[in-house]
Structure formats: structure tokens, C-alpha cells
């Protein structure tokens, strides 16, 4: 078999070829590629000549896109069985349903040829869910029937950092990539600032503090997360967060003005305009914050990149909403797969060298309590 003329390849192309060649089948070809790389690297080092460069001579950065391999036809079947069994069992099966859903989405999300794995046990989730439902019923009952005493839920404010910390820990420790689990190291005291102290100040700052709080929360999430024992690091400045929120606020303000004009003609047109404005604002915040956080995150010398566009995300949200409402919810799996596909396609990892030297950390057991409570109160914390 003819080998391509590797001598004419650039260094980057050679590394790419090495990555994709099947060494078992083409040992000779692989050897040629290796030789060419060595030659090219020598040539490059000679022209630069620093010792630092020589140490890094064989470390190459490769871009790896996240891929989502699931499809809605397949997920629809999983989803409908989940919903059916959850209804029949009056919600008890929902914990098993959640694990199955998560396993489908994690197991179809690939990075560098390996998928993610969701490890949580349904019983742990069920326990958390039961506690969460009891709390929710208590909360709603007081809110509906004893509104004068709703303030007692202020006591929940200092409990919030605890729930957040537990929830992140549960989620990350139950996520595995290759044979290494993620972990979360944040403690209650770390979360107190971003989730209790700063929010109390919000009304006094006319909510201008909000983007800064979001930054603090993202820092709290990324900087205390680790893959195995290796910590992630987030570099981000509050200015970027402010510009995302100001632009989104501007869009919403504009849609409110348009809505005002339209509603003088037809009220429903005005409502549609403001709803679209709200959806657009949400999409542009999601995309903007997502980009800042992912672009600012590093793991050792590996970087991440996200190119999400608010406009595209808005289009997805609008279509999802229309589809779900008009099919009485049956389009939910289609919508979920679309979002997962889009998110993955926007995200890249720049792998410096390889990902082979991470070591799993021994863990003690933990409950799902925080995560489930958080879900019920709709405080999900997404990356």
C-alpha cells in the first residue's frame, strides 16, 4: 500500500495523522509519521533554540470538539417509557427515570473518543426527592395559606450555600470521564459569600451587583472543581459579565418599547413581543455567560473554548417552546436533544499533549439531598 508523502506535511497535520492512524494495522506508516515529526520538531527547535522550547518539543496542542451522538428518535423511546412508568408509580420511578436520562445524555457526549458516564444511584436521588417534595409542600402551603409568615423561609437563606455545595459535589462526583471521577472541593464557608451575603446587598445596589454575583458563583463552581485530583481554574473579569447583562437588558428594554407600541394596536401582539424579548434576553445571557466561563477555564495547560451565539440559541428556544406546547409535551425529547447537540458543537477542548495522567480520588459516600432540593426550587447551576 502506498503511504502518503508525509515529508510534505506540516507539523500540525502530522500530529493529526498520528492521532488517526491505526497503529495495529499500519505499523510501518505510523513509524514514518513519527520519524517525520521528530525531524520537523528538530528543525523548529533549531530555529528557535531555547531550552524551554526543547523541553516542550514533543508537546502539541490539539483541538478536540465535544460531540453529541444521541438522536431524538432513540431518546423519545427512553423518555416516553420514563414518563409512563413515573406516572404509573405516582412519581416514585422518576428517580430511576432521571438516572436513565442522564446516562443517555452523558454516554452520548464524547470528547477525544471517550464518553462521559453518570454514576448516581437512583435510591439516593429518590431519598433527596422525597425530602425536597416535603419541603416544597411546606413552602407552598405557608405561601398560600399563611402569607404573613412566608418570611420564616428567610431561614433558608443561610442553608442555601449548603444545598449548593452538596448539589455540586453530588453532581461532579457522579460524573466520570475515562476511569476518573470529577470532584468538588467547595465548603459551606466558601459558598456563603456568593449565595447569602452578596444577594442580601442586591436591593441596596439596585441589582447592579447581580453580574458580579454571577461571576462569584461561577468562580465558586469552577475553581473548586477538579478532574481527579487536578483543579480547574477560571480566569474571568467582572467587566465581561456586566457587558453580557447590559446588552441583554438593553434587548429586553427595546422589546418592551416595541411591545408598548404594538399593544396600542393589538394587545396580544404586545404580549408576543415582550415574550420574545424575554426569551431573547434569556438566550443571550445563557450564551454569553457560557462563553465567558468556558473560554476562561483551564485544566493544567489544557484550555477550553465555547462559541455559542445568542441568536442561534434564541432560535432553538423559540422552536422548542412552540414544538413542546403544540404537541402537549411530546416534543420534549426532541427539544432536549437539540440543545445537547448545539451545546456540544459549540464547545472545544485544546488538549495540550494528552489526557492520560489524571488520577482518580478516593471518595466517601454522599446523599443526593442538595441536588434534588435545588432542582425542585429551580436553582439549577449550569456550567
Amino acid at each position: 500500500m502506498d503511504n502518503p508523502n508525509y515529508q510534505n506535511y506540516s507539523l500540525e497535520e502530522l500530529y493529526d495523522a498520528l492521532e488517526h492512524v491505526n497503529e495495529e494495522e499500519y505499523p510501518e506508516r505510523t513509524e514514518i509519521i513519527r520519524r517525520c515529526i521528530t525531524e520537523k520538531e528538530r528543525g523548529r527547535d533549531a530555529s528557535k533554540g531555547t531550552s524551554q522550547e526543547q523541553n516542550n518539543a514533543y508537546v502539541m496542542t490539539k483541538a478536540r470538539t465535544f460531540e453529541f451522538h444521541g438522536n431524538w428518535q432513540e431518546y423519545f423511546k427512553i423518555w416516553i417509557v420514563n414518563v409512563g412508568l413515573s406516572i404509573i408509580t405516582l412519581g416514585i420511578y422518576s428517580a430511576w427515570a432521571k438516572v436513565r436520562s442522564k446516562k443517555y445524555f452523558y454516554g452520548n457526549t464524547l470528547l477525544d473518543g471517550s464518553a462521559f458516564e453518570y454514576l448516581a444511584k437512583p435510591v439516593a436521588i429518590l431519598k433527596g426527592r422525597i425530602i425536597a417534595v416535603i419541603f416544597l409542600i411546606g413552602y407552598l402551603s405557608v405561601d398560600y395559606f399563611y402569607p404573613l409568615y412566608s418570611w420564616i423561609f428567610v431561614v433558608a437563606l443561610p442553608a442555601l450555600p449548603l444545598l449548593i455545595t452538596r448539589s455540586l459535589k453530588f453532581r461532579l462526583r457522579n460524573t466520570m470521564y475515562r476511569n476518573v471521577r470529577f470532584n468538588y472541593h467547595g465548603k459551606y464557608a466558601d459558598a456563603l459569600m456568593a449565595w447569602t451575603a452578596l444577594p442580601v446587598l442586591l436591593p441596596f445596589t439596585l441589582f447592579l451587583l447581580y453580574p458580579y454575583i454571577v461571576l462569584k458563583r461561577k468562580m465558586l463552581f469552577i475553581n473548586f472543581s477538579s478532574f481527579g485530583a487536578t483543579r480547574f481554574k477560571l480566569n474571568a473579569i467582572s467587566g465581561d459579565f456586566y457587558s453580557v447583562y447590559f446588552r441583554a437588558g438593553g434587548i429586553y428594554f427595546l422589546s418592551a418599547i416595541i411591545s408598548g407600541f404594538l399593544s396600542s394596536a393589538f394587545v396580544w401582539l404586545g404580549v408576543v413581543a415582550i415574550a420574545f424579548g424575554y426569551l431573547y434576553m434569556t438566550a443571550s445571557i445563557h450564551a454569553g455567560i457560557n462563553n465567558i466561563v468556558i473560554n476562561g477555564t483551564t485544566l493544567d495547560s489544557h484550555r477550553f473554548e465555547s462559541n455559542m451565539y445568542g441568536d442561534e440559541l434564541f432560535g432553538i428556544y423559540v422552536m422548542n417552546l412552540i414544538a413542546i406546547v403544540s404537541t402537549l409535551g411530546l416534543a420534549t425529547p426532541w427539544a432536549m436533544v437539540r440543545v445537547a447537540k448545539y451545546r456540544a458543537s459549540c464547545t472545544k477542548m485544546y488538549v495540550h499533549g494528552d489526557l492520560s495522567h489524571y488520577i482518580d480520588q478516593a471518595l466517601d459516600d454522599d446523599q443526593a439531598f442538595g441536588e434534588e432540593i435545588g432542582e425542585v426550587f429551580d436553582m439549577e447551576i449550569a456550567l
Binding site: E24, H69, G70, E74, Y75, F76, I80, V81, V83, G84, I87, G91, K98, R100, S101, K102, K103, Y104, Y106, G107, N108, S114, A115, E117, L136, I137, L140, S141, Y144, F145, Y146, P147, L148, Y177, R178, N179, V180, G228, V267, T282, I316, N320, L321, I324, V325, L328, G329, T332, A335, V339, A340, L355, S356, Y358, I359, D360, V376, D378, E380, A382
Partner: protein, 337 residues
Amino acid sequence: MIQINGNYFVKGTSQKQQSSFFFYPSGDIFIDIDNAQRPIGSTIDNISPRVGSSARYIRFANGAKIESFDNDAIDQIASRFSSNPGHEILYLLESKMKLIIIMSILVIGIVVSGITHGIPFLANKAAVAIPKSINNSLGRGTLELLDKLYFETSNLKQEQRELLLNEFKNMSEELQVEQTLILHFRNGSSMGANAFSLPSGDIIVTDQLVELADNNQQIISVLAHEIGHVVERHSLRQVLQSMSIVVLVSIMSGDVGTASSLTASLPTLLIQANYSRSFETEADQFAIEYLRKKNIPEKAFSTMLLKLENSHSSDDTLSFLSSHPMTKQRIKNTESN
């Protein structure tokens, strides 16, 4: 012998080794290293359940793991290895096309009939079962809260108040209401002409409503509507139904992703508004029946509804979001019955 291709990882490491794996009927497992079959040297601890065509994981007693997408081959291995029968049943359910179609129709059927009939029916049963003492203590504090936020003390003349209180007392006796009903007068200020009831049996009428009415019959029709809410425990039922809807929608909307929260909250809102409207219709019905029994013309109620609508600027185009049915419809109901 079953062969699968995938990635091999030693315990607790991210070092990936792409290879082929050979599972022999004897239970021996080999890995291909440099074109030679080497024994894995451990036994299978567990095999992750099949979820569609997503990645599968075979874990070994020594902590090593194989990652592979060769789902069919792994199914064969799993059937030989003592696997979890529950997982197989789930995948079987998910792969039967007929079953999926039946399931979809069933789910839609259960959801639609549950929303329109099941949940209201169960909420009604539950509301009746909840002890009276609990129901009567509900909403304690709501009046104080409304007083703080909206109301001012009533400016109605003493005679007028006593007249209405007397009428009200007669009404609750005639209707044989077991609960103690108390009528309150308040200046509604910014809220304008309005009337409320609380589950505790407190009924609040604003000065503006009393002034808006041409005669006492019209006020009585409104009071009858509010008593209807109390007698039929609408507040409690609304809460129970709202909670059930939240649970149902969260089951439907799934557990993945944040984008779903927006698409889940809109349907919830619409259904809750729908429930609220049907309670209003029920209370209207209650009022009309009372008026008939007392030989008060039903016109009293429909005129009052029209007057109330005119006193508030409102728009019919958003009827699906409203907590009350359209006035036109409500008036039509008084005539058709």
C-alpha cells in the same frame, strides 16, 4: 467467543488504551496488546445497563474498565454474566415500536384526562378529607397582609353596613353553612371595586363595590358567589391542583438541561389559570342557584358582573391567561341555566 472494540482503563487512571477484547465462553477475557491476546486477569464486576446506543461500561473487580459502543455484543456478554433483569426489561420496552406508540397514546390520554378530570377529582376528595379545623385556620394572616398592602378602613355608613351584615347573616343561615362566615368592609383604594373570600370564612367587600351596586340584590349576588368559594373549599383545591400540576410537568419536562425550565413554566401557568377559571364558574353557579331559591332575578348578578368589568379596564384577548372567565361568558351562563 465474543469480540468487542473499545477503550481500556486501568483502575483510577485516565490513561486510555484503544484495543480489542475477547470474551470466551469459559469466562476468560483477553485484551489485544501488540497483536497478541493477553489475559485481563480479573473478573467482571458489573456491566452498565443499555441506554439506547450510548456508551457502555464493563467494570472489573480490580477497578479496570472497558468503554465500548458495541452494544449488541455487550448484550450477549451481559446475558451470560448474571445481569440485572430490570435493565433488560427497560431496554426491551424501549425497543418495541408498537409499545412505544401505545405508550405515547396512553401518556397523552393520562395527561389530558388527568389535567381535565383526574387531578380536580382527587383534589376535591382530598379537600373534603382534610379536617375542618385545618381548613378553617388556613389563610390566617392574609387579611392582615392585604390590610397592610392595599386596604384602608371602610368609609361606609354604619346603617349600610349593618343592613348588609344582617343580609349576610341570613344568607349563611339559609345556606346552612357549617363554617362561621364573617363579612368585612374595607376601602379598596387602588384596588377599586372588588370582593374576596378566604378559606377561613372571611369575606371582604370593598366600599367601591358597595357604591357601584344599584341595589342590595346585586351585592347579595356577589356575596353568594364568595360564599360559594368558601363552601366548596376552592382555595384548598386550587393549591392541591397547582401542586399536582407542578409535579406532573416536572416529570414530563425531564431532568436534563436548564433550557427546559422556561418551556415547563408556561404550560404550568396556563393550566393553573384554567383551574382558577373553572372555580369561578362553579362559584357563579352557586350564586345563581341561591338567587333562584330566593326569587331574586338573575339579572342582578349579570348586571353586577358587567358593572365590575366596566369599572376595571380589561381586555378579552388574553382570556387564556386570566384567572377569571370572560364576563360575556359568565353572563351567558346566568341566562342559559
